[in-house]
Amino acid sequence: MRRGHFIDGLESGQDGPSFQVINPATRRPMGSAALGSAADVDRAVDAALAAQPTWWGLSPGERERTLLRCADHLEACGEQLTETLMAESGSTLAKARFEVSYTPALLRAAAGEARRLYGDTFPNDRPDRVSIVLREPVGVVGVISPFNAPLALLIKMVAFPLAAGNAVVAKPSEHTPLVAVRLAQLLSDAGLPRGLFSVVTGFGPDCGKRLVEHPEVAGIAFTGSTQVGSIIGAEATRRMKRVQLELGGKNPVLVLADMNAQEAAAEVAAGAFFHGGQICMSGSRVIVEAGLVEEFTDALVAEARKLRFGDLADEDTAYGPLICAEAVERVDAHVQDALRGGAILLTGGTIQEGWTYAPTVLLEPPRDSLAWREETFGPVVTVSSAPDLEAAIEAANESDYGLSAAVLTHDLARAMDAARRIRAGAVHLGMHSFQSNTMAPVGGVGASGLGRSGGRYSIEHFTELKWISLQVGGAANRAVT
């Protein structure tokens, strides 16, 4: 498969310079994508600038209808994307299907928002004046999307800005460019006006950088690592751009002593090992209240060992490979560092095949270890014990990150107490920390990012407020008395 960019309603650049896309399961090329340059980004931005005023000029109902048509089309043809998702990102069939089914859901949620670009009015000291606040699109939004959920996270960053009347230029992760190009093609087929959503494939230093620096790009949405996010945030802010960053996490999961160990372990495993832990909201630091530690770790080890890897198309396959060799090295370095520091390896810690890393459980990682402090972005969960809830909350907050957290207990009072005191963008009670909802504000505090995405929170991010004052009769320059 050789694909070009998707710019201004057309695929282009198929014959130009390209780069290989590696299937992480086979570690062999599965296709190639156009190697984008700053000039390609400029073309896409020009197309976006040309298309956006017309799009914003449509009625909210027309924008809503267009996005609903896109949703319907993706529901009908989205299945086509499953194979590309699996081959490009190492997704299991189940995970790819989830992404494919989540895409129309997000488009529909966004479509509804087109009618809810709420403004405001406020009272004025002068009865002959009216103050109105209007909400308007920022214009062109640049989107830089990640490899872990290359379809769901891309459409999320694209659909809401579109609903708000913006145009979007996206630069997908170089690991997963092809699904993005196919998505843009499908939306175009469904009737999304040309130029509104372009995809330029390539690498950060060429395309991503230009997108962030382009003077006509007014907003930036980035999902990815904290390291890259902080650079993008700085560059975008320097240019007074709206910027929304959804970055890493080192998400704590508290397991309180009233839990059934088996149930808690199953929930923790589901949240930690989904897609090999390559999810920013994966629960990677489990903090267990004293009394349940031994029973819980035994159950968690059993859960981890139940998971099977293998043919991604097989429904029993629970996880696939990590995205690349560097990811395997990072994950293994985190495990080795923890072991050197005295953590106990309860299961895993090995490369099973190629880039597939075994689900790994580490007991009592030292507080200065990488596995405790840094985002591992792999199938590694640490278990620490805490004498009581107080200590568990303290441990949970011992992180620069603050994306998502979870508390497993049946005691609602303790759960709410913990939820209020844990420093995170989300706290999930009675479930693991990786939860999706089209309308929820997703984002984190501290090193986990800036702003929230989803539902009206995305709309708020990619719109500007305009205060309009209206003199209703009389003289404008009358002094206030």
């Binding site: 060799a325 072991l339 390896l345």
Partner: protein
């Protein structure tokens, strides 16, 4: 770690087949009753190859230790085993051997999993376990416990009688075989025993004890306890214990000897060494290099007669190191349960850290280098490649490392070679490679319990020869007859005799 498709494919096969071991629960055996050791030791027994912690290590409680001591003592006093005719004890030992023959595979797998010694080696050594019991039975049938000495008024009977309840404490490198040797000998002598295996490899001994009881020996003959040195100390220092046989490190050995000194208990210590391997100018360099590699890799370099120092005639140093390098490059370091592995991981993570640390400190010497071309597998186990350290000053290389690391030192005269070989305070084993006649002459000048000429093997060259240890390497010889005798005391009984009057 390097990520290469090929090496990870190999490890993938290994980890798929043997991953996720489960270990049987450890149990104490007290007067025939299986009980769970009541306390936790605060660390985990791990799969040495994958590094996975498998089970929290457990320790017998003071109350359990007391019950075991009481049972061993009562059993001995009751005489159900110690009072048995030697012939019947020999029959019972044969039955134990028979039971064990069916279980050597299990023993080998348990030892390989927890000690990291490759299955090829543990299989070889556990096959010896029933043989050891048969040898003890045979020794017993030879009548050595009862001798008649001609006397002035008729024959005097010299009886070798069991000393009493005895304690057997084992190491982690070859757990089953070493405990089996002590156990078979003590049982042959007629002693009731308390066994404490190493806390890092506690499982196989449980099987051994089961086999003894299944063979129908009285239930209070063998007690099994678990724990670390503190548990060992409670056992050996109890006045009801009449003799102790210990295999392990120097620190543990000294502690046992000190505890035994209080009651003047006989103690047998089999400890470590820093064993020299001499390569003379006329040696078969290929054979010497082969022996060096074997010395570094056998039991993953963790054996008491492993090579500590390679002492080489300066004129053949370069070609010999080249040969060793080539051979080390082909060593397959891998999962201990993989029959393809030539060598496995070290026993536990702390031991690996110790070896790494010791190696680093030896390499602080200026112009010292490490020769370690063996590839390490992509497993989280406690792997350390077999390594020769060159350029380390000899006086810094005299401690025991108990790992796959040896130092290399040149010599220019045979006098110097012998003086280097005899430096240090250990005296367990030595190896000499060279013209056989000359090598045999030099062997006679080396201060060590055994010296092998133009060869190196884990097993003794002669099964009936004593295994001797000099200096800090131990106390008292081991061997089928030696260890049996160790557990006995002499009782001389004769008839007649007149008061002696001074003649005028």
């Amino acid at each position: 770690m390097t990520i290469q498709p090929q090496s990870s494919q190999v490890s993938a096969a290994a980890s798929r087949e043997w991953v996720h071991a489960t270990l049987p629960e450890v149990h104490d055996m007290i007067a025939g009753e299986r009980v769970r050791p009541a306390n936790e030791l605060g660390f985990w027994v791990s799969d040495s190859s994958t590094g996975e912690a498998l089970q929290r290590a457990r320790s017998s409680s003071p109350e359990q230790i007391e019950r075991a001591l009481a049972a061993a003592n009562a059993g001995f006093q009751g005489g159900s085993w110690s009072g048995l005719d030697a012939e019947l004890r020999a029959d019972a030992l044969d039955k134990v051997a028979q039971r064990l023959e069916a279980r050597v595979g299990e023993l080998a797998e348990l030892d390989a999993r927890t000690s990291g010694v490759t299955i090829t080696w543990t299989a070889l050594m556990t096959r010896l376990v029933p043989v050891i019991f048969r040898q003890a039975s045979k020794a017993l049938r030879s009548g050595l416990l009862r001798q008649l000495h001609p006397g002035r008024y008729g024959a005097v009977e010299v009886r070798a009688v069991p000393l009493g309840p005895v304690a057997l404490i084992g190491p982690w490198n070859a757990p089953t075989t070493i405990i089996a040797h002590k156990l078979a000998s003590a049982l042959a002598a007629g002693c009731n025993v308390i066994i404490k295996p190493s806390e890092h490899v506690p499982h196989s001994t449980g099987l051994l004890v089961d086999a003894v009881l299944e063979a129908g020996l009285p239930t209070d003959v063998v007690q099994l306890l678990h724990g670390d040195g503190a548990v060992g100390n409670s056992i050996v220092s109890d006045p009801r214990i009449k003799a102790v046989s210990f295999t392990g490190g120097l620190t543990g050995g000294r502690a046992v000897a000190a505890a035994c000194a209080q009651d003047l208990k006989p103690v047998q210590l089999e400890l470590g060494g820093n064993n020299p391997l001499l390569v003379l100018a006329d040696a078969d360099l290929d054979a010497a290099a082969e022996a060096i590699v074997a010395g570094l890799t056998t039991l993953n370099g963790q054996w008491c007669r492993a090579i500590g120092r390679v002492i080489v005639d300066r004129s053949v140093m370069a070609p010999m190191l080249e040969l060793v390098k080539t051979k080390l490059g082909t060593v397959r370091l891998g999962h201990s349960l993989d029959p393809q592995s030539d060598m496995g991981p070290l026993v536990h993570r702390q031991h690996l850290a110790q070896i790494q640390q010791a190696q680093q400190s030896l390499l602080k010497a200026p112009s010292s280098t490490a020769l370690n071309p063996t590839a390490t597998p992509a497993l989280q186990g406690h792997f350390h490649p077999p390594t020769l350290l060159c350029g380390v000053p000899h006086e810094q290389a005299l401690e025991e490392l108990f790992g796959p690391v040896a130092t290399v030192h040149p010599f220019t005269s045979e006098t110097e070679a012998i003086s280097l070989a005899n430096a240090g305070r250990y005296g367990l084993a030595a190896y000499v490679f060279g013209d056989e006649q000359r090598a045999l002459e030099l062997a006679g000048q080396i201060r060590a319990g055994s010296t092998q000429v133009n060869g190196l093997s884990l097993l003794s060259l002669a099964p009936t020869a004593p295994r001797a240890a000099w200096g800090l390497s131990g106390l008292g010889d081991e061997g089928t007859l030696e260890t049996l005798r160790f557990f006995t005391g002499h009782r001389v009984i004769g008839v007649g005799g007149q008061p002696v009057r001074a003649e005028a």
